[in-house]
């Protein structure tokens, strides 16, 4: 196994499509071959060597961008295996249509992080833009599997058209979280913008804080102790991270069912404080 480190050596003035730079794609290539890979940069095409210094370390693993840049788009697009780490920010479409492996971004990411991803794990230590785990305009299925962790806050429409998988936002989330959701689970620890669960069909929004407003098309189903939340909060993907404090006791929630303007089989679960 070898580790590849790509060090940005220039200031980006345009968006840079880094989707060809994936562990699978770089495996077995020497620095010269990697340097020759063509990348879309604005309306031009430039080789990797134009932007990055390339270092290959034997006995290592994965691909590292150091530093990152908010203009890196399509990081890990369609990735199937391996790991990518970004020491800094990344741009839009991080993990777009990802099928496996792990992506870890130390800084912030742009819009459509984890959009239409099917498997694998994306971990963002900073903030994320709109449409986390969503579907691109015109597409009808968003995230369909895997895990997406945002340690900071996320923009509007988290999990738009989401179909399966888990999104965890440790900070705040914007408006329309879980909009048009088909299924899956979104857990948000911070505050929430207006219209959560807008037009959701199925799926679960787990909120650690009561939302400022709920759409009129969600009905109160009362307070409950739901066993699956124990499983979720105790699962290895969540354990020791956000919501770990809820794993210590059977979680009590207030359940709101909706969106009755749509199929109405979704739910917003608001975690209740200890009695």
């Amino acid at each position: 196994m070898t580790a590849v480190t790509l060090s940005l050596k220039t200031t980006l003035r345009q968006r840079l499509d880094v989707s060809p730079l994936m562990p699978d794609n770089l495996a077995g290539r020497d620095p010269a071959e990697i340097a020759a890979i063509a990348l879309h940069y604005g309306n031009r095409t430039e080789p990797v060597g134009h932007f990055f210094d390339i270092r290959i370390t034997p006995d290592g693993d994965g691909l590292t961008f150091s530093p990152g840049d908010a203009r890196f788009d399509y990081l890990g697009r369609g990735m199937a295996a391996g790991s990518i780490r970004v020491a800094g920010d990344a741009g839009a479409y991080v993990g777009y249509q990802m099928r496996g492996g792990t992506i870890s971004v130390d800084g912030d990411v742009g819009i459509y992080c984890g959009a239409e991803m099917k498997s694998g794990e994306v971990h963002v230590r900073g903030n994320a833009g709109d449409f986390v785990g969503g579907a691109l305009p015109g597409n009808r299925k968003g995230m369909a599997g895997g895990c997406l962790f945002i340690e900071g806050s996320a923009g509007d429409r988290v999990g738009d058209h989401m179909r399966r998988g888990l999104i965890v936002i440790e900070g705040d989330a914007g408006a329309y979280a879980g909009s048009r959701m088909i299924a899956g689970t979104i857990a948000i620890k911070g505050r929430l913008g207006p219209y959560p669960g807008y037009a959701m069909k199925r799926g679960t929004l787990v909120l650690a804080q009561a939302p400022a407003m709920l759409p009129a098309t969600f009905n109160d189903c009362g307070t409950h102790t739901l066993g699956f939340l124990s499983l979720l909060f105790r699962s290895p993907v969540l354990h020791g991270r956000a919501f770990a404090d809820f794993a210590r006791r059977p979680p009590r929630v207030r359940r709101y069912a909706g969106d009755h303007a749509s199929l109405g089989k979704g739910e917003i679960l608001v975690l209740l404080p200890d009695p």
């Binding site: 739901l226 066993g227 979720l232």
Partner: protein
Amino acid sequence: MNINGVEIDDTFAEAFPMKATRVIITAQNLKWAYHAAQAMTGFATSVIACGCEAGIERELDPSETPDGRPGIAAMIFAMGGKGLAKQLETRAGQCVLTAPTSALFAGITSGDPIALGKNLRFFGDGFQLSKKIDGRRYWRVPVMDGEFLCDESTCMVPAVGGGNFLVLAESQPQALAACEAAIAAMSTVPNVIMPFPGGVVRSGSKVGSKYKALNASTNDAFCPTLKGQTDTQLSPEIESVMEIVIDGLSEQDIKRAMRAGLDAVCRLGASSGIRRISAGNYGGKLGPFLFRLHEIMGQPS
């Protein structure tokens, strides 16, 4: 072989291949987990007429269960995969789904998957919800006390059924006391169940009957009241014989359980009225697994 005055017959127990699965039943407290587990493993002493053999393997601490509640591990054995799947689903639906506060989880996660909540979910009449957590699909079925949470499937594995030994004693109370001691010791062995009531069977059977409709009948050679009437295997001082049947996930598991049980019986010894230990077999014709008593007792415990 004689241990503490107890004669160990130079014979073997004969066992046969089965299919098995394990489920974990949790509830608000151990009392209700037991209610569900006892119902689910009830009427499951012998495949001869019950369709399966089932029993409680052990209690589970909350730290060992998926949802952090007290639980019970139960195992079900059947002669084939189809029969096992049917028995599991029927019993889960009628005995666990119905038990207050219960949840039902897979106890074996590798092997051939068989349905657990996969079809039980339809009880939810469209209100059921699925959740995939850590690669496993669970079903949340709304019920009158809240929600029934259930793994979609568990797995079945090849197993061994019919390990056994017979305790021959001078009196019925002494035979029972020895069997109780054996069951207490065997209950600590993982991967095995003793499916009969309290783990003990007093009506050991032989293959065949004088009645054409029956394929098994009383083991007259070990019936103390027939000592003067049949080709008996009992000496005059034996007044009562009881049997312990063991199903396990592997040959080794059954051997471990037999050894634990036999040790416990031998500890009581002849002074407690235990005279002999024997085993049930069919001349080696029934199953490929032979558990020789001398071999089991000859190995270091």
